[in-house]
């Protein structure tokens, strides 16, 4: 329940509209309760004999009352329910803005399916509480207040009798509420699992199909569905309780009132007429009581969702601008001299240092080549530079300033990365290439595509650069995807260009073409090239060999060859391969 308090700021934003809504509720209830009164008076009038014009008057009055009541009902919905949709919108917006700014580590820990479930399913539960929940709470409260005061006015003793199950009701509401809360939390979590499973299965459908795992997937999905089914029923067990319970309790009230009222009459302390009127009002209380049970359910379904949501919302993105940030640093005054000073790094979920005591300097406008075993920390090293993760020890400097001083956005805008795995958005190729800029310069797109040796391929597509690719770029070949990703980084025109094993999916011929083109692009630009092939990095100004979390060798190609160490060994192996091939 407490978690719902976090909704207050959202509700406050619509204070005016909600207050109006409350007033309309009161008005609509007042007018709709007028209706039976008019009909009653009409009948009384008929009883005492009236003209037909008077009857028309009463009928007309009844209709007019209903008309006005209806208008207010319309206003109620247009205010309160509309506000609930606005709040839903705000919540989702805030949630997504928050998520997008969370660091990578967050996404390693939270499955896509779970985030999706939060953004749709959970926020929807909260909305159901905000709109109908608030509307019916106010209605119920007002109705109850009205009826109870009338009852107290008619006969305080009987009113007390009628209200005597109240403590019991409160207790049950409390108990049922808590159980609903716990069970409904489980339902929400299970729904997130269900979404995650579907998300993974559908994203990996190519693997599922090629290894004929369909049956297995179905049975795993069945288990999760079944679990969801069970959790839902366990919730239903409690929820089904509230409606009959409330109904029963109001019934008990009635029985008690008749019984004690009867005794009062027998003892001549009450008239029969009084009791009848009292009973009619007690009857009016039935519906609000049942609605009350329903509201409890809504609330307790929303609270766990809010709790889940707040858990994410309360996580502070630990990689963000803070007091250290120097906002005077802009993109224009970044030169691109990079220095790693005693950098050590351990992944938040890792258990050993992936990088230890890295010292490295890349002069402005030069190229650094990185080579090293699978898993030696090459990607990690460049991720640290763009602050995808923050280092645990040491310092990384750009132009002599710690990267923590540079506004995050500026830092990332200054660095152009071609990630090791190509990810494209499901939009046109041109928009993918121009992703870094908000407006698309077609000439620049073509230029970038040419630099990445992509132009000829795309020209052959029927829709050329307007070709829309599938999710992740699925409808392109491996090499085409990778080159689009290269073109995207070139289009960005960054101060520092990083290629992370970015020629792995292209043939030798294309590789050479791209390397030649890149020479032009990288001229006067600091760049880092990671590769397993010596051929791609041999021309770099400086080459480092990463091994066992440290820089083992460093120097130019020729220096490293004459060193006769790991690099030389690799070189020999790659040469050998060619020789075998020749024989």
């Amino acid at each position: 329940m407490k978690s719902l308090l976090s909704l207050l700021p959202y509700i406050k934003k619509y204070k005016k509209k909600l207050t109006l809504g409350f007033i309309f509720i009161v008005l609509s209830i007042s007018f709709s309760s007028l209706f039976p009164l008019i009909v009653g008076n009409g009948i009384d009038a008929i009883k005492s004999g009236v003209t037909s014009s008077q009857i028309i008057f009463y009928s007309g009055m009844a209709i007019v009352a209903a008309l006005i009541g209806g208008f207010f009902l319309y206003m109620v919905r247009q205010h309160i329910i509309v506000v609930s949709r606005e709040i839903e919108n705000d919540l989702r917006f805030d949630f997504f803005s928050h998520i997008v700014n969370m660091p990578r580590d967050f996404f390693n820990k939270n499955s896509t399916g779970n985030i999706m479930a939060l953004a749709t399913n959970d926020i929807n539960s909260i909305r159901e509480f905000v709109g109908p929940g608030i509307m019916y709470t106010v209605q119920t409260f007002f109705r109850t207040l009205l009826t109870v005061s009338v009852m107290l006015y008619i006969n305080p003793f009987l009113a007390m009798v009628a209200l005597s199950p109240l403590p019991l009701i409160s207790f049950i509401v409390y108990k049922v509420g808590r159980m609903t809360h716990a069970r409904s939390l489980k339902v929400k979590e299970s729904f997130a699992d269900l979404t995650s499973k579907a998300q993974e299965n559908l994203s990996g459908i190519r693997v599922v199909k090629s290894y004929i795992r369909e049956k297995n997937e179905i049975s795993e999905f069945y288990d999760i569905s079944r679990d969801y089914f069970r959790k839902n029923l366990s919730l239903a067990k409690v929820q089904s309780f509230s409606f009959p319970m409330m109904y029963l309790l109001t019934g008990v009230s009635l029985v008690l009132v008749i019984y004690f009222g009867g005794i009062e009459i027998i003892n001549n302390r009450l008239t029969l007429g009084n009791l009848s009127t009292f009973l009619i009002y007690l009857g009016l209380l039935t519906w609000p009581m049942i609605a009350f049970g329903w509201i409890i359910n809504l609330t307790q379904r929303a609270a766990p969702s809010m709790q889940r949501l707040m858990m994410v919302m309360n996580m502070k993105p630990d990689i963000a601008d803070n007091s250290e940030t120097d906002n005077k640093i802009t993109l224009d005054n970044i030169e691109g001299e990079i220095e790693f000073k005693n950098v050590s790094f351990k992944y938040p979920s890792g258990y050993t240092d992936v990088l230890k005591n890295i010292n490295l300097k890349i002069n402005k406008g030069t190229t650094l080549g990185i080579i090293g075993h699978t898993g030696s920390g090459k990607t990690t090293l460049i991720n640290l530079l763009s602050r995808i993760y923050d280092i645990s020890e040491g310092e990384i400097l750009i132009d002599g300033k710690s990267i923590k001083q540079i506004p995050l956005r500026t830092l990332r805008e200054a660095i152009g990365v071609v990630p090791q795995e190509s990810f494209l958005f499901s939009t046109s190729i041109e928009k993918n290439i121009a992703y870094s800029h908000d407006n698309l310069d077609y000439d620049k797109v073509i230029e970038a595509a040419k630099s990445a040796s992509l132009y000829k391929d795309v020209e052959q597509f029927p829709e050329k650069f307007q070709t829309v690719v599938g999710e992740r770029g699925i409808t392109l070949s491996g090499g085409q995807k990778q080159r689009t990703s290269i073109a995207r980084a070139i289009y960005k025109n960054p101060k520092v260009l990083i290629l992370d094993d970015s020629l792995s999916a292209v043939d030798t011929h294309t590789e050479e073409e791209i390397l030649n083109e890149l020479k032009k692009v990288m001229k006067n630009r600091t760049s880092i090239i990671i590769s397993h092939r010596i051929s791609s990095i041999k021309n770099a100004n400086n080459i480092i060999v990463l091994d066992g979390s440290a820089i083992k060798e460093q120097g130019t190609h020729n220096e490293l060859i004459s060193l006769g160490g790991i690099y030389y060994d690799l070189y020999q192996k790659q040469l050998l391969e060619e020789e075998i091939q020749e024989s």
Partner: protein, 594 residues
């Protein structure tokens, strides 16, 4: 960036409601007995509910008026008893309907999921994952209300309606007709409303689908958003869809806000008419006042179920909007289906033949043109060629992921159209160019839950791919947790795991599509040495841009723009001094000059 072809989503086959309803009702069939029980319980509850208003006057007029305290106590006990009974039955009924609803929802969800597993890849090329997730999750969820309380209580309402109608007409059919006179207007209003709300709901569902697709895509691609510092734009794009969703919802709120008061108004008009007409009759002495009063009470009892029904009708509209989407998906025919008279095919030998194969992913935009080649059993063949020349496509065709346009593909001399997909793929292991890991642990990613794969096979595969070193460095070894897509491993490590997965299957045909592209030279050489032994006696196909990896192949096929340009052994091709020679020269020269 959300230009996910929404057209497809919007082009729903407009189906008749009666047709949709019929299909929905089919899902009720297995639970007919329970539904009958639930309806019976509903009717019992409403019958019990009638007891109270009958007993109360007796208690008051009879017992209290006669100061009969024991009598009063008896009546109170009976009343209390019925209340309890009513509560219990009500509880049972509510739970039962939830149970029925959840069951049907689960059946339908499983059906959609199973159907999705059978759909062809071309479908997946075109449909964003987020949209399909919506079908399996929230679109189904929307149906719950209909499947549970909705239908059952509607039965109850209709029952009550007829019951009251009967009383009204036996009491005074003139007044009965007056009460009913608003019904045509009510029905007319409902029809108009239905159309509006349906369109609106349909849009809401579409937008939820889009929200999900956008989320799915941008969460999985969040690293790109980050490295390009495009958080703001991403949020703005998301907000656009979000706003549109809100706008559409507000529109349906507006329709509701109008519809409900209108229903109330009609009911008030009806009461007014009764008062006016009945009052006139009373004055003329044609009807007694008592009858009029009773009638007004009846009319109120008559309107309650009508109100409920009109509300349920709306719930039904939401459900219809969802089920339209669901059934459109279920009607999507898998493009590749096994023939009934497929050849039984347990163990294959492993020869592959392409005969004049033409293939296009879209229309007649041919990606493969007149491809013919022959791979003998146990042969080792390599495909080389520029990127985008169609190598991966050939592999997709061997596993029958796409249907060819012209020509014929045979395995062991049998047309693959006559082989069941399952039998075919069982014998082929492909290391896909795009690595995909599932969340779980490393072992599960290698076996993929196939318990026919022994521990030895898994360990063997790990040794052969050089994964051992990495796995030993992990505290939980082979049971080390894998996150979604393996996000906490290096790219090379991921590729090795996917490689090990293929080897563990012990396939007759092994296909490696750029299987070592992200792996360092040392490990790569290790794997090659290991594999040499492994592929003896198996057919293997290798795609690699590094010519070094294909050195010892029996046959090399050179592709260029979807055509086979050259074919032969390494030496033959070199002697030919054609495309391959050029490619080779380039790489060789480059590495030597290094």
């Amino acid at each position: 960036m959300a230009e996910i072809k929404t057209k497809n989503d919007e082009q729903l086959h407009k189906k008749l409601d009666s047709y949709l309803l019929k299909r929905l009702i089919a899902y009720f069939k297995p639970y007919t007995r329970y539904i009958v029980l639930a309806v019976f319980l509903t009717i019992t509850v409403s019958a019990l509910a009638a007891v109270r208003p009958r007993l109360t006057p007796i208690a008051i007029d009879d017992k209290i008026a006669n100061k009969d305290i024991p009598g009063l106590q008896t009546i109170m006990l009976i009343l209390f008893g019925t209340l309890m009974l009513q509560g219990v039955i009500q509880y049972a009924m509510t739970y039962l309907t939830s149970w029925i609803g959840q069951n049907i929802i689960m059946d339908l969800r499983m059906k959609i999921f199973e159907h999705l597993q059978n759909l062809h890849l071309k479908f997946y090329d075109k449909n964003p994952v987020g949209r399909l997730i919506t079908r399996v999750t929230s679109d189904v969820e929307v149906l719950f209300d209909v499947f549970s309380s909705g239908l059952v209580t509607a039965f109850g309402d209709i029952f009550t309606l007829f019951w009251i109608l009967y009383f009204m007409f036996t009491l005074d059919w003139h007044l009965g007709l007056v009460t009913l006179s608003i019904l045509p207007f009510l029905i007319y209003a409902t029809i108009i409303f239905r159309k509006k709300i349906r369109v609106s709901y349909s849009r809401v569902r579409l937008l939820i689908s889009r929200l999900n697709s956008y989320l799915q895509e941008h969460i999985t691609g969040v690293s790109i958003v980050h490295i390009f510092a495009k958080e703001k734009r991403t949020v703005n794009e998301f907000e656009e869809i979000n706003q549109e969703h809100t706008r559409e919802n507000k529109r349906s709120i507006f329709y509701y806000a109008i519809f409900f008061p209108i229903v109330e108004l009609f009911l008030a008009v009806s009461s007014g008419l009764i008062l006016w007409y009945g009052g006139g009759e009373v004055i003329q002495g044609a009807v007694s006042l008592g009858v009029l009063i009773t009638f007004i009470q009846y009319s109120e009892m008559f309107f309650r179920p009508i109100r409920d029904l009109s509300e349920k009708y709306n719930v039904l509209q939401t459900a219809m909007a969802s089920s339209e989407r669901i059934f459109t998906l279920l009607d999507e025919k898998p493009a590749i289906v096994d023939k009934k008279d497929s050849v039984d095919f347990e163990q294959i030998k492993g020869s592959i033949e392409f005969k004049n194969v033409w293939f296009a992913y879209n229309n007649d935009d041919y990606v493969l043109k007149d491809i013919s080649f022959n791979i003998k059993e146990g042969e080792k063949v390599a495909f080389v060629g520029a990127t985008g020349s169609g190598k991966t496509t050939i592999i997709n065709l061997i596993s029958k992921f796409y249907q060819i346009n012209k020509g014929k593909i045979c395995i062991d001399g049998i047309n693959i159209n006559d082989i069941r997909q399952k039998d075919l793929r069982k014998n082929i292991s492909v290391v896909l160019q795009d690595v995909f890991l599932f969340s779980g642990d490393i072992e599960k990613n290698i076996t993929l839950g196939n318990n026919k794969i022994t521990n030895e096979a898994v360990n063997h595969a790990i040794d052969q791919t050089g994964l051992r070193y990495f796995i030993n460095s992990l505290p939980d070894g082979i049971h080390h947790k894998v996150n979604e897509r393996g996000s906490t491993f290096s790219t090379g490590q991921r590729q090795l795991i996917s490689f090990a997965r293929a080897l563990a299957q012990d396939p007759k045909i092994l296909i490696l599509d750029e299987a070592t592209s992200n792996i360092d030279t040392t490990t790569e050489m290790l794997i090659q040495a290991a594999i040499k032994k492994l592929i003896e006696g198996r057919t293997s196909i290798v795609i690699a841009h590094r010519l070094s990896t294909i050195q010892t192949c029996d046959k090399i096929i050179v592709m260029h723009k979807g055509e086979i340009k050259e074919m032969g052994s390494h030496q033959e091709l070199l002697d030919k001094r054609g495309l391959y020679y050029k490619l080779y020269q380039l790489q060789y020269k480059e590495d030597v000059s290094a």
